[in-house]
Subunit: 195 residues, 2 copies
Amino acid sequence: MKEYHQLLANINRYVTLDQEEEKRLTSIIRTTRIRRRQFIDQPGYVSSYRNYVAKGAFRSFLVDSEGKEHTVQIAVEDWFVSDFYSYITQTPATLFVEALEDSVILQMEYDDIEGLCSQMHKLSEYFRITTERAFAFSRKRTLSNLSKTAEERYLELLDRYPNIVNRVPQKIIASYLGFSPEFMSKIRKRLVSKS
Amino acid sequence: MKEYHQLLANINRYVTLDQEEEKRLTSIIRTTRIRRRQFIDQPGYVSSYRNYVAKGAFRSFLVDSEGKEHTVQIAVEDWFVSDFYSYITQTPATLFVEALEDSVILQMEYDDIEGLCSQMHKLSEYFRITTERAFAFSRKRTLSNLSKTAEERYLELLDRYPNIVNRVPQKIIASYLGFSPEFMSKIRKRLVSKS
DNA sequence: CGCGACGTTGATTTGCCTCAACGATTGTGG
DNA sequence: CCACAATCGTTGAGGCAAATCAACGTCGCG
């Protein structure tokens, strides 16, 4: 399967698996096709899988008590996506995880990953290192939210992920950055008239 | 050293090190006493250590272009603290990390940790699992910041860390939760008059 | 073709900030 | 050990960034 190679290539950026190890890993992987607008996690259900995006795009979001949506994560190719809190604690999710495009994901069950990590040092290292990076990045986002204005956060996103803006509706970007779609529209107008 | 035992006890909640392994780990640990108001990380300097708080309290914070402080993390006993982004990437820090009380920390150098993790499966597992939890928690905080009002975030903190409020000045709590000290004072007044 | 989601724009509102002034508490040097 | 300074928390007045509400054009899709 060429989807496996994508994930294996990613893993080999951090550690070097031998054939035997690759086999053990791929044996726990399930390749799944997901249609646009389909949910892979929803509130009330435990997030069972670590999902690697081989193709497509997803977002995870919360619907608050007033019915408003707040986007926690936007994930494209080569990222993992889930209600991570639910996955780690194996308790019911609070988030939706929804496909933004027709997608292909590689799914690995929590117990299988934990089992393999406890046996395979290199796999443990892979997840340790990548999670450390994700965590560091998450801290950076917290910092942006605390210290920057809406316009600055938007420009920061444009700078880091220029292509995302073309793939993802503006209202979702807005809910990711923490402001209303109407205000996003006003920011864009302001920026256009500046340049 | 009894400080070692504290960390080893923490590690043994997740994995079981044998004597040999404990020895290798403690051999890279440096115990350091830090005085109140002393900095262990500052902007411009690479964050060299993973710092385990054995006793005391710390915070990491950013000083923005207008001179305002934004608290990223508050850490007490049993937590690790640093400019984590700087530590992971081994690039110059942007944050200050400051002792809020006279403290004792266990310091481990980046290269030593990486070296040990690459050899010791169990240590790798310890950091993998704890970082995954920290990451899940960080996501939760991002979500709170996106979806809750100032008052709700304050109540959430009170609920989770009732003791922190007595150890840490209110202005620091405010800058952690993302609002001004004056506004915090008004929230508290409102809450008192309600009960 | 027609409906529903998306983006835009303007008017109004609001949650939180800023600034300033004042006690209370803490820390510090003489 | 006291005195004075510095820092902290409180309170009120005024202001601003972003939200809300509503109306309208546009586009994609069934």
